[in-house]
Symmetry: C2
Amino acid sequence: MSDEDAVDRGPGRTRAAVDAWEAVFRLQATLLRRLAADDVWEDLGVREYDVLHTLSRRPGGRARLGTLSEEVYLPQPSLSRLVDRLERHGLLAREPDPGDRRGVLVALTDEGAARQRRIGGRHAASIARHLGEMEAGELADLTRLARAALDRATASATDQAP
Amino acid sequence: MSDEDAVDRGPGRTRAAVDAWEAVFRLQATLLRRLAADDVWEDLGVREYDVLHTLSRRPGGRARLGTLSEEVYLPQPSLSRLVDRLERHGLLAREPDPGDRRGVLVALTDEGAARQRRIGGRHAASIARHLGEMEAGELADLTRLARAALDRATASATDQAP
DNA sequence: CGCAAGTCCATGCGTTTGCATGTACCTGGC
DNA sequence: GCCAGGTACATGCAAACGCATGGACTTGCG
């Protein structure tokens, strides 16, 4: 995904960062394609499932639309329409937020929760099929390092002149 | 991104795989958003740049459209239109493939190559800014493990009954 | 209280996406 | 050489995306 040399702390430093990004990018891209291709999604897409999944791990199976928007990495207007669709399919419902009348709570219906569990089980198996070949230690290390990188990136998000 | 327990070789095995996928997915998603938000892209998008970049590392700065399509993880019709746009901007050109008259070679123009270098340099710096906080060892391990995972995933793509 | 500024979600609109299909070309068997 | 089947790219069309904006509500300050 990238090129060239740059500043910061050393020349190979940039190269190492770029290599890491490229490797992670490639891994995610091909894995996502494979997972999406696996026939586990019934009639909805990966993004739709991600919303159901995220809601399912929330107390009460509901969350504010804005919150959800950040958690599933989807811009708010896109999520709003996606919720429209899932609502039409009866998998979730909008409710007014009692504490803030501007807000909207998105809630999993029973059918939505059931659907999430069915798909979730198959999806997990699918992931295991694709990554299961890795040794347990490698898998754990990959998880740890990816989380570490995410932490660093999140931390360093504090720049830009105000 | 996922849930539940499943089969394969053990119970925690699936959990470990799911955790790894989730960590990698999150890392890529937030990093991609950050990188896309960094003001280095002039007037084109990440996907457009990816095409220029991929072409730039090819002998002659050209490749078959189909080949390119796989390398940038973009379905062929989508790439075809994306090439339309870049062609309109004068950054690349279509040429007939001399060896196969069905084929189309996509070639970087001089302007396209120059643009790629400019953006590439800034983009690399941007990556270094976001990941540079990591220790060199961690960065190298992350790269190694992501590549290993990709290899395993690619290898195990040989199933499904014929 | 009253109002200016800010937050939250929905919608208009132009662009991009991707599936399904069409057209041109290549290849192998006869 | 010819034709059936396969491959490569383009295009029609419906869906989805995302930015910019609009309308509803909240908050904080005078």
